[in-house]
């Protein structure tokens, strides 16, 4: 059964049809790439999937559950986590705390037991720390756990954002340009990490990316968006050699 199935999704801003009849079916465990020229509506599609915008039309189904029109918070609880194109970390908090906020809904104790330091506080905090360090180790961030997240180098900030999203224990991970601003060796490393977390955490991934080497290297399928509409959809080699796609990217 499909992990994510989107039917006829669309939204308009005034007279602009930003995303129009967006159809995609992502199988469980698949790694899907979403590409397209600037302004094609990729991030808007992400915002629709995560409830930042409410779609005008269409149905989004996650693992058999209709999540159309739910709020961002509810959609995250249902199992979609995301990262942002412009990094949005909790800058004044430590790397560890950033991940622990991701764990917020999976490890619970009441505010009162936090203030009164009841046993449940110590027990849960210990579990949270262990889990957070587990995730940080995967991203090779455990050495920097007590740094302020704003003080991390750029590439590590991007990784931390993925770590935080993973901490919410999602079924589906949406990565918005994870390699933006990275140098080739950092991108290489990121590709390895993405393949690793996919197996380790059993998540389905949809990613937006401009780095074609990364997209062709790790994605199993690619969806091309242009002017809010589907241009091509299928295996990387077919899609990237499609004359329509080349035209959209390079012009005639």
């Amino acid at each position: 059964m499909a992990m994510l199935s989107v039917k006829n999704l669309g939204i308009s801003f005034g007279g602009l049809r930003a995303v129009d009849s967006f159809n995609i079916t992502i199988e469980k465990g698949e790694l899907y790439g979403l590409i397209g020229p600037n302004g094609a509506g990729k991030t808007t599609a992400f915002n629709l999937l995560t409830g930042v915008y409410k779609p005008d039309s269409g149905v989004i189904t996650l693992d058999g559950r209709n999540i159309t029109g739910l709020s961002t918070i509810e959609i995250n609880k249902a199992g979609i986590a995301r990262t942002f194109q412009n990094i949005r970390l909790f800058k004044n908090m430590t790397v560890l705390d950033n991940v622990k906020i991701g764990l917020h809904n999976n490890y619970k104790y009441s505010t009162a037991s936090g203030i009164l330091r009841l046993p449940s506080f110590f027990k849960t905090e210990k579990l949270m720390n262990e889990k957070a360090f587990d995730i940080l180790k995967v991203f090779d961030l455990d050495q920097e756990a007590h740094y302020l997240s704003a003080n991390l180098p750029y590439g590590k900030q991007r990784k931390l954002e993925i770590a935080r999203a993973l901490a919410t224990n999602p079924k589906m991970l949406l990565l918005d340009e994870p390699a933006a601003g990275m140098n080739p060796s950092e991108t290489e490393e990121l590709m390895k990490t993405i393949t690793l977390i996919r197996k380790k955490y059993d998540v389905t991934i949809l990613l937006i990316e401009h780095d074609m080497k990364l997209v062709a290297g790790i994605c199993e399928k690619i969806f091309v968006l242009n002017f809010g509409m589907e241009l091509a959809n299928g295996r990387p080699q077919e899609v990237l050699n499609n004359p329509e796609v080349i035209k959209a990217y390079l012009g005639e």
Binding site: T50, S71, T72, I73, N92, M93, R164
Partner: protein, 363 residues
Amino acid sequence: MKQWKVFNQLNKSTRANVITIGVIAIIYVLCQLLIAVGALSNLMQGLLVPLCYYSILAVSLNLTVGILGELSLGHAGFMCIGAFSGAFFSRLTENTITSPWIRFPLAIMIGAIFAALFGGLIGIVVLRLRGDYLAIVTLAFGEIIKNIINVLYIGIDGSGFHFSMKDSLSLGLAKDGDIILNGAKGITGTPNDTTFTIATIFLIVVYLIITNLVNSRSGRAIQAIRDNRIAAESVGIDITKFKILAFTLSAAMAGIAGVLYSHNISTLVATPKNFGYNMSIMILVFVVLGGMGNIRGSIIAAVLLTLLPEYLRFMQDYRMLIYAIVLIVMMIFNWNPACIAWRKNHTIKGTLLSLLKKNRKEA
């Protein structure tokens, strides 16, 4: 030496707590000693309790401004609610609950609960507002509370409570009636239950509540909302819940400060001076000077800025002028990057260590 090791093994926030509470306790003991030997002037003795409740106010406002990151200019309003509801309760039960050991904690609880109720209410109302707009609404709220209390008359007689918003005569009390809240004349005859000891204890309690909250799951969620609201939503943090929680807790603790205040004076009236706009701004100055989100800093700033005008009294008319200059200098010293760098190179610990090394070399 062994104890020292144990202390170093504690995590950072616990260590900071131990140090702060230790310093508060030492200052408390010192003050008591000075009072015992008669070395503390009456003026200073009278300032001890205000120091505590100003510190509590600063710490509680820091939860809204520093930890949640929302500018609130109505903190004096919550203090006002706490002060009046606490004093009202004490006046009402003065003859039924004679032991201050039972009555006063109850009064504090009532003050905190009432302030929390209004805090939660304001929290709900201002959920959609941010920044300047929130500041304006909270500012108006503080003024409204003060003005309503100034026209509110409440009395009690054999048949129960009487309310009026006109004057004390229109309450229509029976002969045995007692006017408790007398409009602009306020509440008189509140038992003076607040002592320096109780105020210090509550300062420590409030400090612990806030620091424990900050280092817990809910506190992290509140800070996440401050740092990046959109990202907080994306990881499933319930913004509404935690905003209201922060507002409510902050108001409750301002209410506690209010009860301490009202039980430290004989006549409680709501004037622009004690519950007005200026008071809210003053608490905000404590928070900003002490550092947003820095709980210990709030206490230090509150103490310094309360003592400063008293020590500047000899300058008479120039007092507030000097106060302003000192405030500016302190702000610069605290937050200018060059000053921060200078402070880092000249810490007390570092200076002592280098002196020690020098001595050893010479020896």
